[in-house]
């Protein structure tokens, strides 16, 4: 592994002509995350960790700003030619780590590769083709009008087509994506990003070095070397920061927020996140859940604000819908509706005054405080005479149970890969359909074809305002129907040494743009 990378870096130094550094990238940064990249192939897995790596070693066509707007990166500009086509102008003079120049054919290669990736396939399914107009102009064509074209373009990190083409010594295609076993791309890398991987020992550390020929000479980033150490244990990660062993850590566990705030040498940044935590009520398993009154009673019985304040220690934003603020579907008027008296009255109306017994399952190491949240919800349900038989499991065992819909109420956390409301509905509230894959994680078996149709309509509506109105209406009706029990959006937290200015490079997607990081 090490040898391969060194060999690659060696050959790269020979081919790339030395050019003056953009900013004086002389600072060193030591950071600790809860995990390190699984692979070097950015298309092998769609996960927060892999996107973080992508932003360090590659650049997307466009990227999100901290207030969820688009910022041009490798695409200089774009314009809609017709309903189904968007034309992009590519930045000129961008070099890959291998020394090759970035042109439209690299983007085409990347899109084709994304469509092969099991993890990205679904996201790129709306795209029919990429038309290369010239070296620096191309058109993205979708099958139908697609409002999320730019959202999706944030996932296009152009890869070096020349570098990833051809065969390896053992005769395997260099562009192959393998989930298990080694592929060329999982051990070698050539992107356009601010950092090159100099050394990598899986599970121990990854060392990044600033790319001398990085195109973005206006980037204020001045970090020349980054060492990423995975520290899985929360306590140890915080200790590493407090003892000065590392300069930057994420995530910060809620129990240690105060401790870091009190430390004079450290600074803490928190942000309301976009991952919704919710409970599904399985209507197929429990007859009573078919009755909207019972579901509403449960919605009234749950104190989201209490959970956010007491269990999450203020480290969560109470939710009454799935879309977080900033998403098109976010509906300002929907607020948590905690009211036990009302809940009891609704149970009585529905004829379940004496309550019933249900089973509940939640993971105990997937989301922040997941098992404690489940216990609190169970206790709240006891007040409307619903007796809960709760079981919490480690995530490795939980998901198979989830796939089997093994309990009457099940917890899930969801982050929309497209940073868009429709994604929530498609996976969590659409009528489950094994053939189309709709409602894949709808463990409530809630089914309202009318709403599904509305979402599908929104998905081909390119007018932003009209689309937002449609999605907000869906949220409204799901709320009235109490289709599920939303709890909160988990907050995000990062902490660093005082001299590491992380705030400007952070965002709700949780991939800090470390290329722009300034260390004083």
């Amino acid at each position: 592994m090490k040898k391969l990378i060194t060999a690659f870096v060696g050959s790269m130094v020979l081919t790339a002509a030395p050019v003056a550094l953009s900013a004086e990238a002389t600072k060193e940064l030591k950071m600790a995350y809860d995990a390190d990249p699984v692979t070097l192939d950015i298309h092998e897995q769609l996960s927060g960790g892999m996107l973080q790596l992508s932003h360090m070693t590659f650049d997307p066509l466009v990227r999100w700003t901290s207030d969820l707007k688009f910022e041009p990166r490798l695409a200089k500009s774009w314009e809609r030619i017709d309903e189904n086509t968007m034309r992009f102008e590519l930045r000129e003079g961008v070099k890959f780590h291998s020394g090759n120049q970035l042109t439209s054919k690299d983007v085409k290669f990347t899109l084709e590769r994304l469509k092969q990736s099991p993890d990205y396939k679904a996201i790129f399914q709306p795209f029919s083709e990429l038309k290369v107009i010239d070296d620096y102009t191309f058109e993205l064509v979708t099958k139908e009008p697609y409002p999320l074209l730019l959202n999706t373009a944030t996932y296009i990190f152009p890869m070096d087509s020349e570098f990833y083409s051809g065969k390896t010594e053992s005769g395997e295609s260099k562009s192959a994506i393998t989930k298990h076993g080694n592929s060329f791309a999982s051990e070698n890398m050539s992107g356009t990003g601010p950092y090159i991987i100099r050394d990598r020992q899986q599970g121990v550390r990854v060392e990044f070095e600033r790319f001398d020929d990085y195109w973005d000479t206006e980037s204020p980033g001045n970090v020349g070397k980054i060492t990423l150490t995975p520290i899985k244990e929360n306590n140890t990660r915080v200790s590493a920061l407090l003892s000065g062993g590392v300069d930057f850590i994420a995530p910060v566990p809620p129990t240690d927020l105060e401790r870091i705030k009190r430390d004079e040498d450290s600074s803490l940044v928190t942000m309301s996140g976009t991952r919704i935590i919710l409970f599904h009520m399985n209507q197929e398993r429990v007859e009573a859940f078919k009755n909207p009154k019972v579901r509403q009673a449960i919605a009234y019985a749950i104190n989201q604000e209490g959970i956010a304040a007491k269990i999450m220690k203020g480290f969560a934003t109470p939710a009454a819908q799935m879309s977080p603020r900033g998403y098109q579907g976010f509906n300002e008027s929907l607020t948590p509706r905690f009211d036990v008296a009302k809940a009891q009255a609704l149970m009585k109306e529905a004829g379940y005054e004496d309550g019933f017994t249900i089973t509940m399952m939640a993971p105990n190491n997937r989301y922040v405080n997941d098992d404690k949240i489940a216990q609190a919800v169970a206790a709240m349900l006891a007040r409307i005479n619903i007796k809960v038989d709760l079981k919490t499991l480690p995530k490795a065992q939980y998901w198979p149970e989830y796939d089997n819909r093994a309990a009457d109420m099940m917890m899930i956390g969801w982050h929309a890969d497209t940073e868009d409301s429709a994604n929530f509905f498609e996976f969590l509230t659409f009528c489950p359909n094994a053939e189309t894959g709709a409602g894949q994680y709808n463990a409530g078996k809630y089914c309202n074809p009318e709403l599904d149709a509305l979402v599908n309509q929104a998905n081909v509506e390119t007018d932003r305002d009209k689309r937002a109105a449609m999605l907000q209406e869906v949220e409204q009706r799901l709320y009235e129907d109490a289709a599920f029990i939303p709890l909160h959006w988990q907050d995000l937290a990062w902490a660093s040494k005082e001299n590491v200015k992380i705030e400007p490079v952070l965002n709700v997607m949780n991939f800090p743009y470390l290329g722009d990081l300034v260390v004083e």
């Binding site: 600790a32 699984v38 692979t39 897995q45 769609l46 996960s47 099991p118 993890d119 396939k121 679904a122 996201i123 393998t178 989930k179 298990h180 076993g181 080694n182 999982s186 020992q201 899986q202 599970g203 121990v204 550390r205 060492t227 150490t229 995975p230 520290i231 899985k232 244990e233 306590n235 140890t236 990660r237 200790s239 590493a240 407090l242 003892s243 000065g244 062993g245 190491n365 480690p394 995530k395 490795a396 065992q397 939980y398 998901w399 198979p400 796939d403 969801w414 890969d417 994604n423 996976f427 094994a434 894959g437 894949q440 994680y441």
Partner: protein, 349 residues
């Protein structure tokens, strides 16, 4: 001797076989490895296709036979997470664990023998009572708690200001209880010396040794009290025996009696227990390595469990089983050398 070894080797095979069967039997309870390999939004169809590719849809028996066939040729499969042969992954992580165990063992040997012997010879001395008291505390604190306290004290540092600062003694006490911190709290550092194969050693650089301090102390904290108590108890018993009394009557010097005649016999049971405890220490390394992010097999195993990396879990269990068999065999051999009255096999004397 040869018969003994042959017997042990066949036992080792039996142990390996049983472990592999058990590991395979419980794998359904270990979770779905696919979950860790693909994103949440990947469709069921894609998952099924991958499952087929990995052979996870075959029956457990078919999977086991395939595994056993490969295992007989020395191939324990590929880790899902590392995408490499599991034995290679273990070989990469094993040196870190061995160094941790060596560090802890050194601490145990250096402290347990003198303290144990001293408190056996002078059971009534206040120092003996102090050591006994401390060892009771040490044995009852869980290893991860010790580790967290050590990190707070010696890595982050604590400032005590409970005593009045304006008085000389208060100032002194404050300083006495405050610690500077500064010892590394995670990992092995980046100044490792390559010895051979996959062995990167931390024993040859200051940074490497510093990184070793806290984890070794934590790991030793659970075993050290046990050994002190064991040595003390054995020694006291030996001191009561006839041959010691006879030596005393003969007028031998106390030093000669204690350290030449008594200590030798004291060490016999200590070696047996020690051998078994080193095996148990491998289990405790899991906790220590997790707290200190020590990149050894313990941490690797724990992560393999959270990732449902079944081939790696099975391989780890088999390797650990093998280590147990080997250490026990070695202990028996050493025991035979130290105590000539012990016969290794049941053959006629």
């Amino acid at each position: 001797m040869l018969a003994f070894l042959v017997q042990r080797i066949s036992q080792a095979f039996l142990v390996m076989f049983v472990i592999s069967v058990i590991a395979f039997a419980i794998q359904d309870g270990l979770g779905d490895p696919l979950q860790q390999m693909v994103g949440m939004s990947v469709s069921q169809e894609e998952r099924e296709a991958l499952r087929d590719e990995l052979g996870l849809n075959d029956s457990v028996v078919v999977q086991y036979l395939r595994f056993a066939g490969n295992a007989l040729q020395g191939d324990l499969g590929n880790s899902y997470f590392y995408s490499k042969p599991t034995l290679e992954v273990i070989a990469e992580h094993l040196p870190a664990t061995l160094e941790l165990v060596i560090g802890a063992s050194l601490i145990i040997v250096v402290f347990s023998v003198p303290i144990g012997v001293y408190s056996a010879i002078r059971p009534q001395a206040w120092l003996s009572k102090f050591f006994m008291g401390i060892s009771t505390v040490g044995i009852s604190i869980p290893v991860f708690l010790t580790a967290i306290m050590l990190i707070q004290l010696f890595s982050i540092g604590v400032t005590v200001s409970a005593f009045p600062e304006d008085t000389g003694w208060g100032q002194w006490l404050n300083d006495f209880f405050s610690t500077e911190g500064g010892l590394p709290s995670y990992g092995r550092g980046d100044e490792l010396t390559h010895l051979f194969g996959t062995w990167e050693s931390g024993f040859f650089s200051e940074s490497g040794l510093m990184h070793l301090v806290l984890p070794s102390v934590s790991l030793a904290s659970i075993m050290l009290p046990l050994f002190i108590r064991l040595i003390r108890a054995e020694m006291m018993e030996v001191l009561q025996s006839d041959y010691i009394r006879y030596a005393r009557a003969k007028g031998l010097s106390a030093g000669r009696i204690n350290f030449l005649h008594a200590l030798k016999n004291t060490m016999l049971p200590v070696i047996t227990v020690g051998g078994v405890q080193i095996g148990i220490m491998v289990a405790y390394t899991i906790l220590t390595e997790t707290v200190f992010q020590w990149p050894g097999v313990g941490l690797m195993f724990l992560e393999a469990i959270t990732r449902s990396d079944i081939p790696l879990i099975v391989a780890y269990l088999m390797v650990v089983g093998l280590i147990f068999v080997i250490t026990n065999t070695l202990v028996d051999l050493i025991y035979g050398l130290v105590n000539p009255t012990v016969k290794l096999t049941g053959k006629k004397a």
